[in-house]
């Protein structure tokens, strides 16, 4: 097993752990927004780690180019997608649990 492979194995496991963290968040966090927050992490860091790890396990020049593209793309799409979910959740009236502050509530929207 080459060093590259070992690093790769470690990275994919780390990435998977990020996913598990996010999954834990999704299961345990109290409301939709905190859960979304957790997911956003997985979509960013988690995937990047896994994909880069995969690259190290299946190395190649064109693969590296693709992985760079994937990372950029994944960060962009996952964050935008997550934001869309968050906003829709808010507009759909999803409640905020145990909130300590809310600048959106100053317009007098009924609680």
């Amino acid at each position: 097993m080459s060093a590259l492979e070992i690093v790769g194995q470690v990275l994919v496991v780390l990435g998977a752990l990020v996913f598990v963290t996010a999954a834990l968040g999704v299961v345990r966090f109290p409301d939709a927004y905190t859960r979304i927050s957790a997911v956003g992490t997985a979509g960013g860091a988690g995937i990047v780690l896994v994909v880069v790890g995969a690259l190290l396990l299946q190395p190649g020049v064109s693969a590296a180019v693709k992985v760079a593209l994937i990372v950029a793309l994944q960060l962009a799409t996952s964050s935008v997608g997550t934001m869309a979910v968050a906003r829709s959740a808010y507009l759909a009236g999803t409640p905020l649990r145990r909130k300590h502050y809310d600048d959106l509530d100053t317009e007098g929207a009924p609680r």
């Binding site: 968040g25 992490t41 968050a86």
Partner: protein
């Protein structure tokens, strides 16, 4: 501060951001693995200094990618000189101002790295 240092600034920002992510991840992980929730969630209005759609989008994305913070959206700005605002959901900040402060740091670093000429503070 010039175009020459731009790639360097970008890389530095990336490194910093990576560190931020790791730290936040640990926070979230700790929160999740311990019984009960330690968070103090809330939504803060954050007036940005972004000038373009791209900057605003990037900032929003970075906020979202950071564990513990989440961009909910933006609002129309009445006049061109009005700041573009973001509504950000935070979990681990005691109040809106603390959240805004953290966001401001990230915004500054981002704009500094992003703008070819550096940021005009």
């Amino acid at each position: 501060m010039s175009t020459l240092t731009w790639p360097l600034r970008l890389a530095w920002f990336a490194a910093w951001y990576l560190k931020e992510i790791v730290v936040s991840n640990v926070t979230v992980l700790r929160d999740n693995l311990t019984p009960g929730q330690a968070g103090t969630p809330g939504i803060a209005l954050f007036p940005t200094r972004c000038r373009t759609d791209t900057e605003l989008t990037l900032l929003a994305a970075l906020i979202t990618l950071t564990p513990g913070t989440l961009t909910l959206g933006t609002a129309p700005h009445g006049a061109p000189e009005d700041p573009r605002v973001l509504y950000v959901h935070g979990i681990y900040h005691p109040d809106a101002d603390a959240l805004r402060a953290d966001l401001a740091v990230m915004e500054s670093r981002m704009l500094h790295a992003l703008r070819r000429e550096g940021v005009a503070r």
